[in-house]
Amino acid sequence: MDIKEALFKYTLRLGDNSLILGHRLSEWCGHGPILEQDIALINVALDLIGQSRSYLAYAGEIEGKGRDEDAMAYLRVERDFYNVLLAEQPNGDFGRTIARQFFFDVFHFLLLEKLTSSTDEQIAAIAVKSLKEVTYHLRYSSEWIIRLGDGTEESHRRIQESIDELWMYTGEMFEMDEVDETLIGVGIATDLSALKPLWEEKVSEVLKEATLNQPESGWMQSGGRKGIHSEHLGFLLSELQYLQRTVPNAKW
């Protein structure tokens, strides 16, 4: 695999994680449990969608076939999306959304920290900007894990269920293939296996403070990074892409 092809796919993976998770969070708009939290979730959504714009525009440049960020977001089919399965999982209740966010934020933070020194200037620049946003995301989701875990009997039970059920989607974040290996060789990508112990350490620290049990590392779901998705992504894309599919090139 040549570097250009690997970089294209790597950038799409980064962009798709942010786009799909950002879109999921945007579904909370107007439905948050309280006005302040509604706005908080949407701020995170906007940060992520902003990041995805940078990545997807860059992916279009690398590809060199004239596709812009909109073409990438609105006109690719499900199999051409490379986000991790965790990002596309449905919102569920507020706690489920927070658990998904927390697992991703810890990973995202550690990843961006490394990518700020990527030898690819564009990736490094996006990482520098995003890291500030994601530092806050991680603070927000960690605090909510602790509040819910160490809260009432009901909040504890429900957040524990969400942690347990989403756990099997956490392994995929650290998977690597030819794309990663090609780019690690030239200093563009980072070795995800080195991030895993750090991720586990942070997750376990927060879960402990939240009086929650950390699930046993068992069998992990996998596929999103290769374009093989859960049944949820199709529904998400049909909403995300509806307008451009129905009225191509619509602008406002």
Binding site: I34, L35, E36, I39, Y136, R139, E143, R147
Partner: protein, 98 residues
């Protein structure tokens, strides 16, 4: 939305400093479970458009307010004392803006 009553969380008043050297100014209020959450909520609700560089929050119940029914005795006596405004002096240019 109906399950959580906003009355479950106390009300907080939010003060934002817009830039260095200026004082914190009251911008509004919000609900939060504690002061940490109040600051985060204030960050999300009141500084999304770069309005601030510093946030104060105080639980609304800790604010003592003057009584509007006493406004006549509290404030009207000042109305006919315009000489308290320093408008009767010529301010030398060197002093600049006061």
């Amino acid at each position: 939305m109906s399950e959580v009553k906003s009355s479950d969380w106390p009300l907080w008043e939010v003060f934002i400093r817009s830039k260095s050297g200026l004082h914190h100014k009251h911008v509004g209020s919000l609900h939060a479970a504690d002061s940490d959450m109040a600051i985060e909520n204030a960050r999300d609700v009141y500084t999304r458009r770069s309005e601030g560089i510093s946030i104060w929050v105080v639980e609304s119940k800790h604010i003592s307010a003057s009584n509007s029914s006493e406004s006549a005795s509290l404030f009207e006596p000042a109305d006919d004392k315009v000489y308290r405004h320093p408008t009767f002096y010529d301010i030398p240019k060197e002093v600049g803006h006061m």
